[in-house]
């Protein structure tokens, strides 16, 4: 059980699986409610696994166990079918729909997760293992930890990835802080105060957001070269802040408008000035919105590639994305190092996304269609 050796598509026989599957589904419907549902699904899945094992003797035991669990899952889905339900209207269409749904979900989950899995597995492989069998998706846990994590040690020691992680974090966190510092007051003014040009400003926010980075690159490159801002974290920070500001303002002002005005009026009565109102009333009340803006901006800055490609030439100031791209520029660089770097840059984002999904999804839907 310690290794996943032998996990590969080569020993998957599709016709066989389908014929046994259809046969068992028919048996399931024919048996109907004569036996308890649980007993029914367990016994039929067991029969399927035994048959499969009998026909593919080479498969290891844990593999059969996996097959058993998957079959159990599918059998459970058949619960709502019985001899009576087969007489309903449009039953063939319904069965086809159910079938498509089930396989569609398996298909989507596979298509999405497979590249991520390949990324992870490749980073633990050796160069030879990679070339010998591209269909070997296994992780060899019998190797010592230093062998298993060799690519990670190499990119940290030889390629200085520790530094790049620091730079990427500094730029991303810096961008979040500066963006919020600029965006919160501006969003408050747009949401609450009356001034000349307010409507123009709030519509132009969205139009500016539509302008793509690629048309900004050449002028910014020339100006930054002359000002000596290339290869500097500060220069990158300014650009990231300016490009994320419109969406941050847009998201925040929408939330600020939903805060009842009476609360602020009470603040004014207490003799608070605008600064006090923002600091003591608006910010504490809109922490969820601020959190979702902060996470969203962090993700944009962390994943950003175009500007870091243009502005950073010296390995001293690379961000993670730029460093991985630089690494790949050398055709000799083993792919597993590249994948180890990719895992390092992907993990924080996925972790944040899974952990704070609620905030991020609201950010994604309210502010953005960019990317």
């Amino acid at each position: 059980m310690s290794t996943l050796q032998g996990l590969s598509f080569t020993n998957l026989n599709i016709t066989q699986v389908f014929s046994i599957g259809i046969f068992l589904s028919l048996a399931f419907v024919l048996i109907g409610n004569k036996i308890n549902h649980l007993i029914r699904i367990f016994s039929l899945s067991f029969i399927f696994s035994i048959l499969y094992f009998y026909l593919n003797e080479t498969s290891p035991y844990w593999y059969i166990f996996g097959i058993f669990l998957i079959t159990l899952f599918f059998m459970n889905k058949l619960k709502k079918y019985s001899m009576e339900s087969l007489k309903e209207d449009f039953i063939s269409e319904k069965i086809i729909f159910d079938f498509i749904t089930l396989f569609g979900i398996v298909f989507f989950a596979f298509v999405i997760l497979f590249p991520f899995y390949i990324m992870l597995v490749t980073s633990f492989k050796t160069q030879i293992a990679l070339l010998v069998n591209p269909l070997d998706f296994s992780l060899d846990f019998t190797k010592s930890l230093t062998d298993l994590f060799k690519s990670y040690f190499v990119i940290f020691e030889t390629y200085n990835f520790g530094r790049y992680i620091l730079i990427s974090s500094a730029v991303s966190i810096g961008t979040v802080i500066v963006t919020l510092l600029f965006a919160i007051p501006a969003a408050y003014a747009v949401a609450r105060l009356n001034f000349f040009g307010k409507n123009f400003l709030s519509t132009s926010i969205l139009i500016i957001y539509m302008f793509p980075a690629i048309v900004l690159v050449i002028p910014l490159y020339t100006v930054f070269s002359q000002l000596g801002l290339r290869n500097s974290i500060f220069g990158l920070l300014i650009v990231y802040t300016a490009t994320t500001l419109p969406v941050a303002i847009y998201m925040l002002q929408g939330y600020f408008k939903s805060i009842p005005k009476e609360i602020e009026d009470a603040g004014i009565m207490d003799g608070q000035n605008w600064f006090g109102i923002i600091l003591k009333i608006i910010i504490p009340l809109s922490l969820p919105a601020i959190a979702s803006v902060a996470l969203y901006v962090f993700m944009i800055a962390w994943n950003e590639f175009l500007f870091s490609l243009m502005f950073l030439d010296s390995p001293k100031s690379f961000t993670l994305s730029r460093a991985i791209q630089y690494l790949s520029g050398d055709a000799e660089t083993p792919r597993q190092y590249l994948m180890a770097g990719s895992v390092i840059v992907t993990l924080p984002v996925l972790f944040i996304f899974v952990y704070f999904e609620k905030y991020l999804v609201s950010g994604l839907t309210s502010g953005s269609v960019k990317g």
Binding site: G104, P185, I208, A242, N303, F305, V345
Partner: protein
């Protein structure tokens, strides 16, 4: 009273808004206008540095007792194409040290050598020497001399600010750049990328919207490609699609779908025959489009799912009473409810895909028939180092973009007036 309050409100509003507006103006709006300026100039990457006079200082001893030293300055103009006018030179020496036989262009006052070198042409170089001597015949410390850096100054034109303009860049863009092919590739990529993302988005949303266990997990997983860093994902795909050690080719060969591996990202055309008709498919471009769909269908999925969940369940119950089939329910209830969000998504995604740079750049670098307009900006500006030309391509992008937006807002306006 209320007038002063109003004034105060205005003033506060401007102070709150101004920092953000100025920053966005400097970094986002200014470059858009600067592009127009640069696109009318004949300017290359090497021209953008403002030329400056430089000096490298070398100290040599010439006498035994080291009371006399020779200081050599290797002077040069940093620019290969531009003149520097009125170059001033200044270097400081320690106490009791004075130069002998000083160059006529220079003079020595209060421990400083000040020279006026006049104009330096492009590529100008000179080895300028000063011999110095200690007045009390003591040893001069070489290190202190060496550490004192000379100060140089001079006037040079900033090539960006000169006023000679040319239409050459636009001529090149339209006549020498395979412009029609470039535009067609861009539209092909944009249209099919957007369409595919929306179709897969509808499918995924329809699947997840049904009553299945683990629906929220499924929603999270489906968004992974959209939130992951593009660099990591693009290289993973490159690895997967590699003709020699890639998983996909190995799988296809294993199941006898293809005879020998295909270079999915490096081959421009592939000849396919379906029902006896033979046609050529843009292979690399299609692969890039599939990556694009994979990465951005989650966004369409998210928006469509939100819309689907807002459709009142009573509509479907009524359809059940009328005896409608699942397909009829989808066509007559679901589709009309999501057309609005689909059209908005289509237009916005269309604009974004039109400007997509990173994905194509990382997968193919614009080779094998995947050169789109944004890729061309990079190639012209940084690979060929013709900045003026790159800017001209940017202007073309901006123009097309503005026309898309005008169409978009017109359609939205029409929609609003219809409702």
């Amino acid at each position: 009273m209320s007038n002063t309050l109003l004034k105060l409100e205005k003033r506060t509003a401007y102070t709150l808004v101004l920092p953000a507006v100025l920053l966005v103006f400097a970094i986002v709006l200014f470059p858009v206008f600067a592009n127009v300026w640069i696109s009318f100039k004949d300017i290359e990457l090497k021209d953008i540095r403002i030329p400056e006079p430089r000096a490298k200082k070398i100290v040599k001893s010439i006498s035994e007792n080291q009371s006399e030293l020779k200081v050599i300055y290797k002077l040069r103009n940093s620019s290969l194409i531009q003149e520097i006018r009125n170059v001033q030179f200044q270097d400081k020496f320690p106490k009791d040290v004075s130069p002998i036989n000083l160059d006529p262009r220079c003079n020595f006052q209060s421990k400083k050598v000040i020279c006026n070198f006049g104009n330096w042409k492009a590529k100008y170089r000179e080895n300028f020497e000063i011999t110095i001597k200690n007045n009390n015949s003591e040893i001069i410390d070489k290190k202190t001399i060496k550490h004192q850096k000379p100060i140089l100054s001079g006037k040079a034109d900033n090539p960006l600010l000169s006023t000679n303009f040319t239409l050459e860049n636009f001529k090149k863009v339209f006549y020498e750049n395979n412009f029609v092919e470039l535009l067609l590739t861009t539209f092909y990529f944009t249209f099919f990328g957007t369409l595919g993302a929306i179709i897969f988005g509808i499918l995924a949303a329809q699947l997840v919207n049904q009553n299945i266990q683990g629906r929220t997990y499924m929603r999270g997983i489906l968004l992974f490609p959209y939130v992951g860093p593009v660099v990591a994902l693009a290289y993973t795909w490159t690895l997967l699609l590699d003709p020699n050690s890639g998983t996909l080719n190995a799988l296809l060969v294993n199941f006898n779908i293809i005879d020998k591996p295909i270079n999915l990202l490096g081959q421009k055309y592939i000849t396919m025959s379906i029902f006896g008709f033979e046609f050529k498919l843009r292979l690399a471009l299609t692969t890039v489009i599939f990556f694009e769909i994979w990465r951005y269908f989650p966004l369409a999925f998210l928006f469509i799912l939100a819309r689907l969940q807002a459709i009142p369940q009573s509509l479907y119950e009524a359809a059940d009473v009328d005896g409608a089939s699942p397909i009829q329910k989808f066509i007559h209830i679901t589709l009309p409810q999501i057309t609005a969000i689909i059209s908005i998504l289509f237009m916005i995604r269309f604009i974004w895909n039109f400007n997509k740079f990173e994905d194509i750049f990382l997968l193919t670098g614009g080779a094998s028939g995947t050169r789109t307009l944004p890729i061309n900006v990079y190639q012209q500006g940084f690979a060929v180092s013709d900045i003026g030309m790159g800017s001209a391509v940017s202007i073309v992008i901006v123009m097309l973009l503005i026309s898309f937006m005008v169409i978009y807002f017109k359609l939205i306006g029409k929609r609003a007036s219809e409702d």
